[in-house]
């Protein structure tokens, strides 16, 4: 093939440009650490990266939901543990007061103690996690128990009104109830204790041993049941959280594989493209040194 002067120039220019472009590309990918800068770099990879990012965003959100729920449920359980203790205390006071060896004056004293327990349980019924009342159902911004005519009245959400449950999404299509309402665990025990206190004041020993003690036992099992339900849900959340963080780790790795540059590979690429660029430049400078013009005198 006949080579014209410009052909040689153009070919050399093209070679230099191509090797320079490769050099710049290699430099850029090492500098940014990303091989996926726009969809055309890898259309299938982009789609994968976008859905991984979306899943990661949602997983982070679910993890946040679960952590919030965990704190709420732990606080609920602590409150209910105190309620359990107080019921047990009340029960032993009731057993004591049911005995006819106890004087009426002593029984009055025991009734006072029951009244203190009523106040303590009532206060627990209004306990909070941050700004939310634990036992108010969906009406979590106002105290669930108010005192009217000396007795506690529940004002929170109920199953009957459809506003009892605080639900939290813990995964795609997976949700969990995080709360126990005041009317489930507090209303019963508060009314039993009020009755007990009255029976003590009135020295109604039959009522104490026949009715109040049995009611207290049923109230206690109510609380125990609620705590068992909570415990099961906390466990479910903890295992969900574990799964969640394992999946997040897995997705983060996958995402990195799709969009991040393999540093050692990129470094080698940079080295070789630099070499190719230098070679092209050398060839250019040598190629144009020779001309017949140098020899015509």
């Amino acid at each position: 093939m006949r080579i014209s002067t410009n052909m040689m120039l153009n070919d050399t220019l093209n070679n230099v440009e191509t090797s320079y472009q490769n050099y710049v590309d290699a430099q850029q990918s090492l500098a940014t650490g990303k091989k996926l800068n726009q969809p055309s770099d890898d259309p299938a990879g982009t789609s994968q990266a976008l859905s991984l990012e979306e899943s990661l965003g949602q997983l982070t959100q679910y993890a946040q939901n679960m952590n919030t729920a965990n704190s709420f449920m732990e606080n609920t359980d602590t409150a209910l543990a105190s309620v359990t203790n107080l019921i047990q205390q009340a029960r032993s006071l009731a057993v004591q007061s049911a005995s006819d060896t106890v004087s009426n004056a002593q029984r009055q004293n025991l009734a006072y103690q029951i009244n203190t327990i009523i106040q303590q349980i009532g206060a627990l019924g209004n306990s909070k996690d941050g700004s939310r009342y634990l036992f108010g159902g969906q009406k979590a911004t106002t105290p669930p128990f108010t005192v009217s005519n000396g007795s506690y009245v529940y004002q929170g959400g109920t199953v009957a009104n459809g506003n009892a449950n605080l639900t939290v999404d813990i995964g795609q299509g997976e949700s969990i109830v995080t709360n126990v309402t005041g009317d489930q665990v507090f209303t019963g025990v508060l009314s039993t204790l009020t009755q007990l206190s009255n029976d003590m004041t009135n020295n109604n020993l039959t009522a104490i041993s026949n009715t109040d003690l049995a009611n207290l036992d049923s109230n206690l099992s109510n609380v125990t049941q609620a705590r068992a339900m909570l415990g099961a849900n906390v466990q479910r959340i903890n295992s969900s959280l574990e799964r969640n963080s394992a999946v997040q780790e897995n997705f983060t790795n996958l995402l990195s594989q799709v969009q991040d540059v393999d540093i050692s590979q990129a470094a080698v690429q940079l080295q070789s493209s630099q070499l190719a660029y230098q070679a092209a430049l050398t060839a250019t400078s040598k190629g144009f040194q020779q001309s017949l013009l140098d020899y015509i005198k």
């Binding site: 093939m1 006949r2 080579i3 014209s4 002067t5 410009n6 052909m7 153009n10 070919d11 093209n14 996926l36 726009q38 969809p39 055309s40 770099d41 890898d42 259309p43 299938a44 982009t46 789609s47 990266a49 976008l50 859905s51 990012e53 979306e54 965003g57 949602q58 982070t60 959100q61 679910y62 946040q64 939901n65 919030t68 729920a69 700004s131 939310r132 108010g136 159902g137 969906q138 009406k139 979590a140 911004t141 106002t142 959400g157 009957a160 009104n161 459809g162 506003n163 605080l166 639900t167 939290v168 999404d169 795609q172 299509g173 949700s175 969009q259 001309s291 017949l292 013009l293 015509i296």
Partner: protein, 468 residues
């Protein structure tokens, strides 16, 4: 008996001819870097011989020297034709690559400012709202996340519309530019034909015309054919066509129609109602670009409108903290018009995070069940098996795949063009070393001829001194 001055005349013709060859070499060297220049060659032939019947020769022919019979340019018509169509394809794919790069820039994926992330953030902020529905700070966050998303929808949509408007303007100016070239080609046809008729070898005009045709091919794919005179010989003129439509017919040029359209994704010009396919050139690329952009725009509108419909349907059934219900979350119908309902912007408590309360009940502050339902739209299959987010990702993948294929096209076409340019340059390009060699050769011939003149002159001197 031959003329005493025959020899000096013969040598004189060599002086003139060699001088002419050196002139052509000079022209070649001067134009070594001129785009479109074809190397020229001075063709030497012997002069008609002189028949002598004298003393020295018995009735024989004797040469009378050398002349330049023609100056021709070195071209390969076949390579030129292939280069013309390859250049058109190259500029078309270059235009498409540019368009797609701009489109990708608008979408800004993958990135935190891309719609994929913004839509996802929008949906997850409804999750946060679901667990904190009474929190006014989070309600404000929901609004600002939603506004970031609608803002991006608006901006991508406006960007696409602006691209189309700009392309439409550029198409018209490209057609004007092409019409200008077409007019110049027709004018050159006239001048070249005059030259051919008068046998003056208008090489430089032909180079100029090839150059104009190549420029035209960059703008719009054209084919050419040599015109023949009635005797069947080329008359030097070239006819130019777009598709089957003639735009240069000898010395006559025709205006390129300004109306364009796309049929089956292929670009067309509309010539008095008849579609003429455009094969290549930036014009073809731009018409095709407009069609592609319209497709992306409509896909984006589908995403926006289903987002509007789905979110509004849930939102209007729910209740705000303040008991407000029946409100749409978004106003607008497509990517260009989607906005967060201004009523919600001024009163975030009206965001309907709650499901309807039971009859006779007021809204419970911590009911976030409707917010949770809205948030779960992120994973609800709406387009077949695809959720809104997945459908959007599929759109981005399509844009990426289009961009990648046009980039590959462009790279391939560039390779082809470079190869053909090399082939053309191999035939038509000037090689300085070669020209210098020729220069030395003809310089020597010139010197020899001059020596001959001196020599014969001294012979004639001797002859004349005899007479004295």
């Amino acid at each position: 008996m031959s003329n005493s001055f025959l020899g000096i005349n013969t040598a004189g013709s060599a002086l003139i001819a060699n001088q002419a060859v050196l002139d052509v070499i000079s022209q070649n060297v001067s134009n070594v870097n001129t785009p479109g220049y074809s190397q020229q060659t001075a063709n030497l032939t012997q002069m008609p011989p002189y028949t002598d019947s004298g003393v020295a020769f018995q009735s024989t022919q004797i040469g009378t020297g050398v002349q330049v019979s023609s100056i021709t340019r070195a071209t390969d018509e076949f390579v030129t034709q292939r280069l013309l169509s390859a250049t058109s394809n190259q500029s078309q794919s270059n235009q498409l690559e540019t368009t797609l790069n701009e489109v990708q820039g608008l979408y800004n994926e993958p990135g935190t400012n891309g719609l994929s992330n913004l839509m996802n953030t929008f949906f997850t902020s409804f999750q946060t709202l679901a667990t904190n529905s009474e929190d006014s700070g989070i309600r404000t966050t929901v609004i600002s996340n939603a506004q970031a998303m609608t803002g991006m929808f608006n901006s991508v949509s406006t960007g696409l519309t602006n691209m189309t408007t700009n392309l439409q303007g550029t198409i018209q100016s490209t057609i004007t530019q092409a019409n200008n070239l077409v007019g110049q080609i027709a004018k050159l046809n006239q001048q070249i034909m005059d030259g051919v008729v008068n046998d003056t070898h208008p090489n430089d005009l032909m180079d100029q015309r090839d150059q104009l045709i190549s420029q035209l091919g960059n703008l719009v794919g054209v084919t050419t054919s040599q015109e023949l005179s009635p005797s069947g010989q080329p008359n030097g003129m070239v006819d130019v066509y777009i598709g089957g439509m003639s735009i240069v017919q000898g010395t006559q040029s025709y205006k390129i129609p300004t109306q364009t359209e796309t049929i089956n994704n292929q670009p067309y010009l509309v010539n008095e109602g008849t579609p003429v396919q455009i094969s290549g050139g930036t014009l073809g690329g731009m018409v095709q670009s407009i069609n592609l952009i319209a497709g992306y725009q409509s896909n984006l509108d589908t995403i926006a409108s289903s987002l509007i419909t789905q979110v509004n349907q849930l939102h209007s059934s729910g209740y705000g903290l303040d008991g407000e219900t029946g409100l749409n979350f978004f106003t607008g119908t497509n990517a260009a018009t989607i906005q967060v309902n201004p009523q919600l912007v001024s009163n975030p408590n009206a965001i309907a995070a709650a499901t309807p309360p039971a009859a006779g009940q007021s809204v419970s502050a911590s009911n976030g069940d409707n917010a949770s339902a809205i948030s779960n739209l992120a994973n609800t299959p709406i387009f077949g098996n695809n959720s809104i987010l997945q459908q959007y990702n599929a759109n981005i993948t399509k844009i990426g795949a289009d961009a990648q294929s046009f980039t590959n096209d462009y790279n391939n076409q560039t390779q082809i063009v470079q190869q053909l340019q090399s082939m053309q340059s191999s035939v038509s390009g000037v090689n300085i070393d070669e020209q210098m060699t020729n220069m030395l050769q003809y310089q020597r011939s010139y010197q020899a001829a001059a020596e001959m003149v001196t020599n014969i002159n001294s012979m004639l001197d001797s002859l004349l001194s005899m007479v004295q």
